[in-house]
Symmetry: C2
Subunit: 249 residues, 2 copies
């Protein structure tokens, strides 16, 4: 794989409700799938508490490590929403009332008078570009390579749509998969050899339980669809020769 | 909250399939909920690629930072399963064929002759304590404060059961929650004041979409159930006074 062509992303999920197990995160898998289509690869995800100095530390590390950083959570009006102020500190910029953000919110709720807490959502780090929120009005924002999105999945997804044309695209990532009822150990050695042969493709082997029977899914990922198609054919032949059933071949 | 009483955990999810969005992780929320019952709080989660030097770096950081570290994924027989060897390097110990692990596997598949790849799963860092796997035989292992579990949820859960009596318990964490149809901004100021008043309780405010209508759930967490019950009553009264409907009050 041409390492130059790989664009990397780091994702930071902010929220105690995910860490406590109370809320099941689904934003990582959504962002991962969407970025895949853009040829951008998530290299690392961190789920952290909504505590200012913790957010600052991780954001500053990620923005210097990965091409893009996507942050979800903590941009609402309550006391536990500390993401915007933390990002401002991380970038050493002021957090100021943003007229365009306020106008966006007023357009969304035309008859509404805003209290201090609603106005809090219009406080955006200086220099940030806003991210449209078509679900509930209050915008996200982008500072350099860092995109700050809402935590609520539906709103996060609407914001992701709004930024998708701001992202540089990498070489498209092609994937193929094959599932079998064979145990991993039966084909592990052959698979290891195939991986050494197809250095441009990453081959993953994922056992799981399909209904009641264990199944292994082999996933091939890389930038060359022809090579992937060839490898998939070889794999199907090998698995069948080993006496396995092959699903979705 | 008595900080002394808080036992912390870090969770490391190993696997490209989670990073690509292909597989939805559910292990974090399972472990989070179980640890809550033990008075152990997940402070941070990292999802990382199955690459040896990346695993080593994060494991070494986590094991010196948190009381417990739970790692899931990458202990199978295929070439992309590099967790056990990475942990051995992180702890500067050898990875050796473990007779008890092999016996556990043989007990599980009595008639089976093991090939090299199956035997690979019996290679365990020297000094590790095994973790029983009641689903598929091949064990996980514990080295000091680090617990290495399978990635497949069903197997991970069986391993978690097997280690639950090895964990020191913190003060039990009590939680309560209240949901309302009011927008966050309406009660944000009052909630902020309540948080300042109840310093022992962490109050989280989580907007989400319940069927078609937006709903906010307020979650209270702390070590003193009496205080939480008192706060919950206050909150219900406040939300109703603000004209809100309150669910599960």
């Amino acid at each position: 794989m041409d390492k130059e062509a790989t664009i990397t992303a780091g994702v930071i999920i902010i929220g105690n409700e995910i860490l406590s197990g109370r809320t099941q995160d689904t934003n990582v898998s959504y962002i991962g799938k969407r970025l895949d289509d853009f040829g951008i690869r998530i290299a690392e995800v961190r789920i952290i508490a909504d505590v200012e100095n913790i957010i600052i530390e991780h954001v500053n590390h990620f923005r210097h490590t990965y091409d893009y950083v996507f942050i979800t959570g903590g941009i609402g009006p309550t006391h536990d929403d500390v993401t915007a102020q933390s990002i401002a500190v991380a970038f050493s910029v002021e957090l100021k009332k943003n007229k365009i953000a306020l106008a966006a919110m007023k357009k969304f709720y035309p008859a509404k008078e805003f209290n201090n807490e609603q106005e809090k959502m219009a406080y955006i780090p200086v220099g940030a570009k806003l991210i449209n929120n078509s679900i509930s009005g209050a915008p996200g924002f982008q500072l350099e390579n860092v995109f700050v999105l809402a935590g609520v999945p539906k709103i996060m997804q609407s914001m992701f749509d709004a930024i998708s044309d701001r992202l540089h695209r990498g070489d498209p990532i092609s994937t193929a998969s094959v599932s079998t009822n064979l145990g991993e150990s039966i084909f592990a050695a052959t698979l290891g050899k195939l991986q050494q042969q197809y250095t441009d493709i990453s081959i993953g082997s994922y056992p799981h339980f399909h209904a009641t029977a264990p199944v292994v899914t082999l996933v091939m990922r890389g930038n060359n669809p022809q090579d992937i198609a060839k490898l998939k054919k070889e794999l199907v032949t090998i698995l069948q020769a080993l006496g396995g059933e092959v699903f979705d071949p």
